[in-house]
Amino acid sequence: MLKKFLNLLRKFPIILGFIGVVVLFSILTNRFFTLSNFLNVFRQISINAIIAFGMTFVILSGGIDLSVGSVFALAAVVGASIIKGGNVFLGSLAALGVGAAMGAFNGAIIAKLKLQPFIVTLATMAIARSFTQVYTQGRPITGLPSTFREIGRGELFSVPVPIYIMFAVFFISLYILSNTKLGLYTYSIGGNEEATRLSGIKVIRYKVTIYTISGLLSALSALILTARLNSAQPIFGTGYELDAIAAVVLGGTSLSGGKGTIIGTLFGAMVMGVINNGMNLVNVSPFYQQAVKGAVILLAVMAERSE
């Protein structure tokens, strides 16, 4: 039992990091280690974690998706504008559709034209942000029906709905990566794209799928935040790509592709969330918070390197 646990730690050193930050903040403040605070932390984490799960697919395949934050915003405002008109289902579907379409567009250009994912998604990041501004004329869309707001605010057995969504996405991603062709090919494309192509795998098609997943999941995350805030704002999602990438990297996934796990990403997102929450509870000035997060990422990468 203990041996199994130690093995798990060796495989996922981020779990040790998670335990570390939890213990640290439990000592620093008695407001941290409570059930209600944990539910709160997890609800906050869900936004980043869901994007980061999609990002994990992309990074495992040897790519990167910088457009997730902007796609998040575009999906949010398109969805919210329709939902505001009364059709919750259609609006949500439209938001997810926008996210998937943007992702597919990224994937198609990257795979078909063999362009650098960094540059392509940097471009679509700007384009999607611009579309968002044009669509909203820079104004937030607020006042959404209560049925929709349940996605962000509702609870089931005293557990917030976003947490269910996050874990659902987590388990589906886990299943896909370990038990499906898509999962195997995601790893193999990231590990060696040429060998994968010569093994008769339609690499272009799978790359498009992978970026579509990333776009789709940022749209899903956008729906949750929109519902929780009862508002979709054109500045939504600014900098979210960095949080997502940080969670993936903290979780031990290699930026060069082919190596990593979705469990690592979950814990990576949890560590980031706990640090955020804990620093607020112990009144660390917001001015310092980014520096602390940056330092944690550096430490994690250095620890991985030294292994």
Binding site: T180, L184, Y187, S188, G191, T196, G200
Partner: protein, 497 residues
Amino acid sequence: MDEPGVILKMEGITKKFPGVLALDKVNFSMKKEEIHALVGENGAGKSTLIKILSGVHKPDEGKIFLDGEYVAFSNPIHAIEKGISVIYQELNLVEELSVAENIYLGKENRNWWNLGKKVLIERAEKLLSKLNFPISASEKVKNLNVSEKQLVEIAKAMATNAKVIVMDEPTATITEHEAKQLFSLMRGLKEQGVSIIFISHRLEEVFEIADSVTVLRDGKLISTGKIDQYDKNRLISDVVGRTISDMYPKENTVTDVNAFEVEELSVPGYVNRLSFNVKKGEILGIAGLVGCGKSEVALAIYGGIKAHAKKALLDGERVSLPTRPDISLERGVLLIPEDRKSQGLVLLLSVTKNIVLPNTKFITKLGHIRWKEGRKISGNLVKKLNIKTPTLSQKAENLSGGNQQKVVLAKGLVRKPKLIIFAEPTRGIDVGAKVEVYKLMNELANQGVGIIMISSELPEIVSMSDRVLVMHRGVQKAILEGENINQENIMAAAMGG
């Protein structure tokens, strides 16, 4: 510790890695101005010994004496300063810089306001002409071919006043002709007082170039001595640990039914209207110098690159040239690609996952992979091909070259093939594994498979092929049969004669 004429002595070198004794009290000694071949199968401990010599690893036990002086290297730079340079198979050059800049990289005598390019080029020209190397100091490295790049690496070593140069399989990726040139330059270096440790899997070369030889097996010193104390059989049995009666077993029977036939196959820029056929049970060798288009022929038949042909027949049926590898796989056409690391394997994935990769459709239902069946398939192939791996979930990168190559073969054997293209099937693998690959080729041929073997190793082309197609600059120069298959005829045609 002063023995006249001995430049390097390694005594009782032992190195343990977790779970393996990589070197077990190995002694190695070489004389000044000699070319000393270090041979052994993959995993015999050659690389570890070289890494210890060059300061990459520290030995657990043992001592190194260079020119009679006891040395203990703390890092590779230290070893280079003392006069030991290693030229690895993966060359370490900056492609965008000139030959001169590469030779003196980090050693430039310059001020920050004066790059001194002219002086650098002059110095390099002088060095290159002293070494008799036919390359220009001002040329950018990216414009050179592999063998020329090797010369830059050697020049780089010479610029640091290397006493001992280690060459790790320098001939693995160059042509026969270039190898000959390299050897004559190596003899020139020897005359200038340099000692060379030469690592190669090609035993013919060892006899051609080496003065002395040291054989390692399983981390132990097996034998060492002057080359004239060895003959081919002794060297092979020392390397493999048993006698191999036949390096090139050939026991296939050619039928008169065509397995594959192509007319006017062209790959723009590489191959120009090549027509050939291969019979069931036949091994058709395709030979030629690097850049003659033979690698592209392999990819073109398989659908790996854009190509066109007037007509193609597979198993007697008209087929269009495949545009994607999956089309070929469905038809029963397989490619064992020439570079197993960049084309054949996903090194980060396990043995099972690599074997399953092109064969997922056999174990997948609605996208769900039944890994239990995948492990059964890979387990059987691992047993059949005698792949040495501790477990099926071992990552491919941890296997030796020969076993990696067998995993590449295994990927293809899940299906029932009609035509297999073996591109450089034994490049960089040891003698024992080579023989196993040849036996597998025979076995497949006798099952009625047509085999195309594309290779730069003339001995295997000569010994294993039923017919040999020789290419030169994208066109067919000769088709040799029977008695006419010999190294001279092949080289003559390959050079364009």
